[in-house]
Point group: C2
Chain length 359, copies 2
């Protein structure tokens, strides 16, 4: 059994066949084939070049079949076999993977989280609204008050800024207590169950401790950055906390891996229910085409896309038309610019999403 | 207290000041400054542009002071604050960090490992020799025999190929048992204590279990790939297994972070005692200058550089002259090409390193 992996390689046409074979070897046995004296390794383990296509502009799409047996059951080893050493070669990008059902089944967890999130919010169809608690440096009680004010506008989801961690100025336990209290005050006014998504950080012990505290506090959502925590940590959390909805943050995701693959396929396959990513037209350089593929890929895994990274209220209609209703639209810093008027601005955001008619 | 971080940014000269300020905000509060109403956040937390230097060719070196308070004590959060979101911007590379002593002291563990490795090998001065067990797909007993044959040539260090994990065809526990037995057979002939460095994989629980098994088997060295396991996992292992010598493998390290920084500074600071990297002149594209800086950086942290990635016996003199004796020279696949003559080839390698006179 093999998995087909596509790399984009910058190369001369005369050298691409050798480069492709080099990647097939690098991502499997990583040694000269002439030094291998075990026939089954040559037939079953060594990567096989399946296709080479000229994409123009000196770039080729190289499809390589890698043996599933080399991957085992660990998410880290999956990343290792897909791109471990080749990530160090600047002329190669990991473009796509044709994930076989056996691999997906092996890693994927039950997929009821997005539907449950909608039920909790009594919002079966429309796009969901989200904002973020910032800036880091604020003490927990201030973050709690900010959460309350954002929630007064009826937002569905309020997440921690991914910069919030276990800093001295806002320890996780204090933060979660104050933010939860702030949201409880807001819900008494709005009647709307705004969901809090705290950012979990540290090693697996610390992630578990924080996830447990979140669950014990009555929360149903958590966020981690898989490329910082490590893919094995995402896999472990997704398995052990199967009742919690997991948001994945893209921080440190700037490998030469196509974002529609890394964020759109791998994060959801390994357990993410909602994937945050920098949308086209914001502070980051992802193209419309990449964002569209990313969102579609995520949905195909039962996850919900969360476009972010410089979104504004003025762009709500455009963004909703582009991504459709199965989306969480995240406006962070731009909502906070309203300062004293944050509740009103959040409410305007809520109304704009509720009133949107898709083209 | 701030840490000075240098980014290389491709930009028009007219836009570089705004880009620099943008990175300073992205890597600290990640929101419009106009939305921040807490004065202490503006003065103490927001990143500060300290310097912008034109490097020519449309690239600028931007030095930004980031608040130490945002980093806390977690290696993952360190990576997050240094490059989390900005890693997603293709025109920015994380080039260097002027690590303050307080930060180094906070993360660094005791540094006796390289000296102990030399004592164990009764090799106080010369460069050390290493090879790798490949290909994956071989059963554990075959790997054990290969280890024996390599060790018969008197090599100092034999590491697992980083592709060896918890695969069905060679589970970790079986592998470690067979390889250890193979090396024990060899030492009865050579009298030389070849050290085995098994590759640890999986999540923190699994890494701990494997490290414990290695220790219980009498091994003193382990290897992990920090960018796959996650930096918090490296930090945890380095703290909990302070008696084990840790080799770091660069797999999945192809972020836009300068290798002399990521592999030369950050891996050692977070606990690596020996850092494996693809040397210039092999299958990867690192420059001589980058390799030199990487090796010097690693040594300044008390770690030993391990150039690898396509090294050959014929290049031994050149490589030793370039890196000097405080080095572990790793020849993997090229030694294995000798097939039936592996012990003799390993011995030739051993002799070449022992006999080398530095220019």
């Amino acid at each position: 059994m093999r998995v087909s992996v596509t790399y984009h390689v910058r190369s001369d046409a005369t050298e691409i066949a050798a480069r492709a074979q080099g990647i097939a070897v690098e991502q499997s046995v990583e040694m000269p084939l002439a030094a291998i004296d075990e026939p089954s390794v040559l037939t079953d383990i060594v990567g096989q070049v399946e296709d080479i296509a000229d994409l123009g502009n000196g770039t080729f799409a190289v499809r390589i079949g890698l043996a599933l047996a080399t991957i085992g059951e660990d998410a880290g080893q999956l990343a290792n076999m897909l791109f471990g050493n080749t990530s160090l070669q600047e002329d190669v990008t990991l473009a796509d993977i044709d994930l076989p059902d056996t691999l997906i089944a092996q890693f994927t967890r039950p997929r009821y989280h997005v539907a449950r999130l909608r039920r909790t919010l009594t919002s079966p169809h429309r796009a969901l609204t989200a904002s973020a608690l910032k800036p880091q440096g604020l003490p927990p009680d201030r973050l709690g008050k900010l959460a309350e004010r954002l929630a007064m506008g009826g937002l569905d989801v309020i997440k921690d800024d991914h910069g919030l961690a276990e800093q001295r100025y806002s320890p996780f336990a204090d933060r979660i207590r104050h933010v939860t209290a702030g949201l409880a005050r807001a819900v008494r006014h709005t009647g709307h169950q705004t969901q809090y998504v705290p950012s979990l950080t540290g090693n697996l012990d610390q992630l578990r401790e924080q996830a447990t505290l979140a669950r014990d506090t009555g929360l149903t959502c958590i966020m981690i950055a898989p490329m910082i925590a490590g893919l094995p940590a995402l896999q472990a959390l997704a398995t052990e906390f199967s009742d919690l909805t997991i948001f994945a943050h893209p921080a440190l995701g700037g490998l030469r891996i196509a974002p529609d693959l890394l964020i759109g396929k791998l994060f959801p396959m390994l357990g993410a229910d909602a994937v945050i990513f920098p949308s086209y037209g914001g502070r980051f350089g992802y193209s419309q085409a990449a964002c569209h593929r990313l969102a579609e890929n995520a949905r195909s895994f039962g996850a919900i896309p969360v476009p972010a990274g410089g979104m504004t209220l003025a762009r709500t209609d455009e963004i909703l038309d582009f991504y459709g209703p199965d989306t969480i639209l995240l406006i962070g810093g731009n909502l906070l610019l309203a300062r004293e008027e944050i509740p009103r601005e959040a409410e305007a955001f809520t109304r704009a999403v509720a009133a949107h008619e898709y083209r």
